[in-house]
């Protein structure tokens, strides 16, 4: 178990766990310490970690990853409806479903690479989205989304407890998960830490090295008589399972599932998070997810009145102008800010936030002790 992880890796895991578990205290000063948003950080962090295993390691840019998230959500809600309100069967079920789904899509999409792969995955995701909207309505409840109802059988639960009035909460052996309490957050946090640890093991394993080799030169790998397809397939399925897991957590903290989760904008969002944090780095995607979700929360809440308060120190005429301009970027316009930041990152800092941190650190080191720093070449730019 301790095998091939170095001391630094263990420090990373422990540090990461500490930050995640202490988040309700640490994030107090920036006003993001309530469970609902922390759960979002964890869930999208997990989603991005999984996406990064595919994109960061193999360089295959999937534009349809939200499909797996959607499948995971639907599977989890069905598990809540049919089996039990316990989250464990839901999680297992949605990971299995997302994995099988990824196997099918991967079998077809991985026959091509580069831009074709992106378009194929995009086409599959749109196809699933359209089907969830129309044909599969008995399964997905169409536009309204799949919800719990009082008439659900819940086979396993009904053996042990008699159903009370009203809709039950999702739970982990009696501890309520949904409804935005701290237990819900700690549950997602533990899953995130496990997911992070598994990702770390994958990054450091021979399998991970193979994936990196495929990214840097697939042809050369083939010339040496090496069949790359099974490795790509495995990476694709693993990242699909991560997405399914994230989807099931989403359903666990808020038991409903709608087709919107599968739309290509959702796929684009996870790409954004990964790029923003840093492609191919371990912590980057989680940071990217947290940053995006945090600022989404803050920026969407602003409106013109709030802005006028902030800029109240300015003289009247100037203030109106400033408020007009900045209102473009907040509230409804949050997506605009996101798009601009995203473009800026791709143009100027393809390595994302992690690359930025590395640059700053190496600059400080250079100032400290002459020319020793340049060897820090662990992180490489995206792709």
């Amino acid at each position: 178990m301790l095998g091939n992880l170095s001391k630094n890796d263990w420090i990373l895991v422990i540090g990461f766990s500490a930050v995640v578990l202490l988040a309700p205290i640490l994030f107090q000063p920036i006003g993001a310490a309530y469970p609902a948003i922390l759960e979002k950080f964890c869930i999208f962090g997990l989603f991005a970690i999984g996406f990064n295993i595919l994109f960061g390691l193999t360089g295959y840019l999937s534009f349809g990853h939200a499909a797996f998230l959607g499948v995971g959500s639907y599977a989890a809600v069905w598990s809540f409806k049919l089996l039990s309100m316990n989250v464990l069967p839901a999680i297992v079920l949605s990971m299995v479903f997302a994995g099988v789904f990824a196997l099918v899509i991967g079998f077809v999409s991985l026959r091509r690479s580069g831009i074709y792969f992106s378009i194929l995955t995009l086409a599959f995701a749109q196809m699933s989205y359209n089907m969830a909207y129309s044909v599969l309505t008995p399964l997905t409840n169409g536009e309204t989304g799949l919800q719990l109802s009082l008439k659900d059988p819940r086979v396993i639960d009904s053996l042990f407890v008699t159903a009370g009035d009203g809709l039950p909460r999702t739970s982990l052996f009696g501890v309520g998960i949904s409804g935005g309490g701290l237990p819900g957050f700690y549950f997602t946090a533990v899953v995130l830490i496990i997911g992070f640890y598994v990702a770390l093991r994958i990054f450091r394993s021979p399998f991970g090295l193979m994936l990196k080799a495929i990214k840097s030169n697939q042809n050369r790998m083939r010339y040496t008589g090496f069949n790359t397809r099974p490795y790509l397939m495995a990476a694709f399925v693993i990242s699909g399972v991560y997405a399914g897991l994230a989807g099931s957590l989403m359903a666990a903290v808020d038991p409903l599932a709608g087709p919107d989760r599968m739309q290509w904008t959702a796929s684009g969002e996870v790409v954004l998070m990964t790029i923003l944090g840093g492609v191919g780095t371990l912590v980057g995607p989680v940071i990217g997810a947290a940053v995006i979700k945090y600022f989404e929360n803050i920026f969407s809440a602003f409106n013109e009145n709030a802005l006028a308060n902030i800029f109240s120190f300015l003289p009247q005429g100037l203030r109106d102008g400033v408020v007009k301009i900045s209102s473009l970027f907040v509230g409804e316009g949050w997506s605009l800010t996101l798009g601009l930041v995203f473009m800026a990152i791709v143009i100027f800092l393809p390595g994302g936030i992690m690359e930025g941190i590395r640059l700053i650190v190496s600059r400080f080191k250079k100032r400290g002790n002459g020319n020793k720093s340049a060897v820090n070449g662990q992180a490489q730019p995206a792709e």
């Binding site: 831009i115 992106s118 378009i119 473009m343 792709e383």
Partner: protein, 341 residues
């Protein structure tokens, strides 16, 4: 028989839009080697050129007419568009024909947008990997559509077709089939328009010296560069043309589909599929695949077929794309050696 002709016609106008967008996409890909995810946004911007033009034309002047009274007994306010006040009858015609006339506005606007986009952003991404190109143009598409959303709101803005084309044509009569096949006039106009634009683009590439140089550059840009031709400049112009084509497709589509800020993205995903099915970098392939997929889609939405395979109309295009990509990796008319891996 009637039903089949009707479905083919239904498919053709949608196919025309797909073909026009895909044509620009593949033109840009063939010349610049860039995968442009913002191309759908150009289609959307074109549509909003028509909306803007219509808004400008219908700026109204309010005059108070004391001789007429409203039911409340106050003097009636009569609103007349300024254009009508200035130009009289001609102004009325102008307002009526605002959609086709806005082509005049859209061409320079889209040309400038296209050239600025290429010069300002995309040229810095020639040497970067395709993934980066996809990402940065994806970001640009988000920015463009959010800006439009800010100024025009999130709701679709219906545009009227000119009155003479607003009704339906009895296509069956024209074909001598006797039985009436009702079909909106404007869709016929759109079909003709898209064919004309496609022909114009092909003629430009095939019969002008400028087009010849561009085609040579698509084959081997280095050699063309060595001959002392500034191929980059020509490719910038090609990008501008692709942008105009997408924009005009958007302008003329407004009476068929009320434009909203995310229409570009909806069409983009389908147009990518069209390009891939036709073969990356192949102009003829893009046009053929555009019309083919449009017709297939409209056949799949016939009730008889839907009852046979429920939901097929939603997924037919993607299904066809997957099958074609798996069996003919280069697409229908892809050239050898272009983006095979």
């Amino acid at each position: 028989m009637d039903a089949i002709i009707l479905q083919i016609l239904n498919g053709l106008d949608k196919g025309g839009a797909y073909a026009l967008i895909a044509l620009g996409l593949t033109l840009v890909f063939g010349t610049l080697g860039v995968v442009n995810f913002a191309h759908g946004a150009l289609f959307m911007l074109g549509a909003f050129c028509a909306v803007t033009f219509n808004k400008l034309l219908t700026i109204e002047k309010v005059t108070v007419d004391p001789t007429q009274l409203t039911p409340w007994g106050t003097a009636a306010e009569i609103k007349t568009p300024l254009v009508e006040a200035w130009l009289g009858e001609f102004g009325k015609v102008l307002v009526n024909y605002s959609v086709p006339v806005s082509i005049i506005l859209a061409i320079p606007v889209m040309l400038i947008i296209g050239i600025v986009m290429e010069r300002g952003l995309i040229r810095h991404f020639y040497k970067r990997p395709h993934a980066d190109q996809i990402l940065v143009t994806f970001g640009l598409a988000i920015v463009l559509q959010e800006i439009v959303k800010h100024f025009y709101g999130a709701n679709p803005i219906p545009q009227a077709a000119p009155a003479p084309f607003a009704g339906t044509a009895q296509v069956g009569m024209l074909l001598g089939l006797g039985d009436a096949i009702p079909y909106p006039w404007w869709r016929l106009v759109y079909l003709g328009f898209s064919l004309a634009i496609i022909l114009a683009v092909f003629a430009f590439l095939q019969f002008t010296t400028y087009g010849m140089v561009v085609r040579a550059g698509m084959r081997d840009r280095e050699t063309v560069g060595l001959l002392g031709i500034d191929i980059e400049r020509r490719f910038t112009v090609v990008f501008g043309i692709a942008s105009v084509v997408a924009g005009l497709a958007g302008v003329m589509y407004t009476p068929i589909l009320p434009p909203d800020y995310h229409m570009g993205m909806d069409f983009l995903v389908l147009s990518f599929v069209v390009v891939v099915v036709g073969g990356m970098g192949s102009l003829g392939g893009a046009v053929a695949a555009g019309f083919m997929l449009g017709i297939l889609q409209s056949f799949a939405s016939m009730n008889e077929i839907k009852s046979l395979i429920p939901g097929i109309d939603q997924i037919i295009i993607y299904l066809v794309a997957v099958i074609i990509l798996l069996t003919m990796p280069r697409g229908l008319m892809g050239r050898r050696g272009v983006m095979e891996e």
